[in-house]
């Protein structure tokens, strides 16, 4: 479980996160949604320790991040898998080298064992015969899947995904969403996804946190999101024509 308390972050005097409180539970997929610039990525980067918040506490299963030594932080990060928005694959390494990298770095397994694990996770994300290819030779969706494979190769306890289906077609986006959901359930991972994609919200959002201008505006489930009276979230959700029509149809049904 990850618990964040009163998280505050600013850049050059401009507050970006204004006292965020949230709990992300084990084995659940939590979505942080909000418009571009609402503070989602900053929140994720603060949780990962890539940015230092001015105030607040981040607690990983009773381990307070700000009280950890550098070594403890590095050890914690070995329990974290991250899927970056752009994939962040090492572009001068092959797919096999990309996925094997954490194993090479942090385990003493022989090459055959590592290769076995690499092939297992590649298979898990439904990719075959890509070991010797370079990231640039793969499509965006395949790169995202490689990124997921690299994130799960060390059996992480926590999985962070920053807009995992941005730039993907709707069908591939659903494949990626479902894959993350399956992996979360299978390995009982605490998964946190940043997204502004309403399809993701409906597909995999077990818990949803809505950020607006650096403030947690709303929290609930994908079922609650259509029943809430919160104007900020209804404006966000029904900014899509598709959802507007769904809403109108629902209202018509109710008479």
């Amino acid at each position: 479980m990850i618990k964040i308390t009163n998280l505050y972050k600013e850049f050059d005097g401009t507050p970006v996160l204004k006292g965020i409180n949230a709990t992300f539970e084990n084995g659940k997929t939590s979505l942080v949604i909000g418009q571009s610039g609402s503070g989602k990525t900053v929140l994720l980067k603060c949780m990962l320790g890539l940015l230092s918040p001015e105030k607040g506490d981040i607690c990983y299963d009773d381990r307070h991040y700000d009280k950890m030594t550098t070594k403890e932080k590095r050890d914690l990060r070995k329990e974290i898998g991250m899927v970056f928005q752009g994939g962040a694959l090492f572009d001068s390494s092959t797919i096999e080298e990309n996925i094997m990298f954490p194993l090479k770095m942090f385990t003493n397994q022989p090459y055959n064992k590592m290769l076995e694990r690499v092939n297992f996770v590649l298979n898990r994300v439904h990719l075959e015969n890509v070991n010797s290819k370079y990231p640039a030779e793969l499509s965006g969706g395949m790169q995202k899947r490689v990124s997921i494979a690299r994130a799960i190769v060390m059996n992480p306890k926590y999985l962070f995904c920053d807009e995992p289906n941005s730039g993907l077609d709707p069908k591939t986006a659903i494949v990626i969403d479902n894959l993350i959901q399956e992996i979360t359930d299978e390995y009982n991972i605490t998964t946190i996804i940043n997204s502004h994609d309403m399809n993701s919200v409906m597909e995999i959002g077990e818990k949803i946190i809505f950020l607006k201008d650096g403030v947690k505006e709303w929290e609930g489930t994908s079922n609650d999101i259509f029943r809430t009276d919160n104007k900020a979230i209804t404006d966000f959700v029904y900014s899509s024509n598709l959802f507007k029509k769904v809403r109108e149809a629902q209202l018509k049904e109710k008479g």
């Binding site: 914690l76 990060r77 970056f84 752009g86 694959l89 942090f106 962070f160």
Partner: protein, 235 residues
């Protein structure tokens, strides 16, 4: 930054692999251009020295002597380092800078890797330990280039040139040259790495950082060259 860079590598086998890769990328791949430039500049040094020593009272072997000294003391360690600051420095800044703007460095950090140590230390060690060999090759090819040019132009005979190369040889000058090379190699690895690691923005900023890194590396090499010469050769 340097405190993080000089920490013990997290995994020796990975570090060894990276070190050999850097030796290839930064060192071996530079030998061709260094050899080409050194050979021709060696020739030019001999021609210019010969044309400036027109007095019949000046022995011809001095052409070989002057060429050797200028190659060992200044041309190879300093000018080749400036050329490498351009070639290798821009490579280091752009490769690390691209990793930064495409979040590859963030990916390393999230995995628990000390990214500064992982990316910069192998470059420093590869440079500091391999560049002296490159400079020795440069000196040797410069001398050979001078001998070839002297022979082709007829400005100095082989016998006179070789006599000059061997006369009044001061071994400390080679030591001085190697010390300078090692210091410049450190500068060529660290300044561009710094500019690449802390770049913000996108492709244009990476390009700008590369230019800035080459300029600063060259300036620092020139200034250090003055102080090292004063310290090691000054009386």
């Amino acid at each position: 930054m340097l405190q993080q860079v000089f920490k013990k590598p997290q995994k020796k086998s990975v570090f060894r692999e990276l070190l050999f890769k850097e030796i290839e990328d930064l060192g071996i791949s530079s030998i061709g251009i260094v050899a080409f430039i050194s050979f021709f500049v060696g020739g030019v040094v001999v021609i210019q020295t010969a044309l400036n020593l027109e007095s019949p009272l000046t022995p011809k072997y001095l052409i070989g002597y002057a060429s050797r000294e200028s190659l060992i003391l200044e041309f190879s360690p300093t000018l080749i380092s400036i050329i490498l600051a351009g070639k290798v420095g821009s490579f280091i800044t752009s490769s690390i800078g691209t990793m930064r703007v495409t979040e590859q460095i963030d990916a390393l950090e999230v995995m628990g890797v000390n990214s500064l140590n992982h990316l910069v230390l192998p470059k420093i060690i590869a440079n500091v330990f391999f560049y002296p060999f490159v400079i020795i090759i440069s000196i040797a090819l410069g001398i050979i280039g001078g001998w070839v040019a002297g022979n082709i132009t007829g400005l100095v005979s082989s016998a006179d040139y070789l006599l000059g190369i061997k006369s009044d040889f001061e071994p400390f000058h080679v030591t001085y040259s190697m010390i300078k090379t090692a210091v410049f190699a450190f500068v060529i690895a660290t300044i561009p790495a710094y500019h690449g690691f802390y770049v913000k923005g996108g492709a244009i900023e990476v390009g700008k950082a590369s230019t800035r890194a080459v300029v600063w590396t060259s300036v620092v090499i020139i200034v250090l060259n003055y102080f090292l010469t004063q310290m090691l050769l000054g009386k």
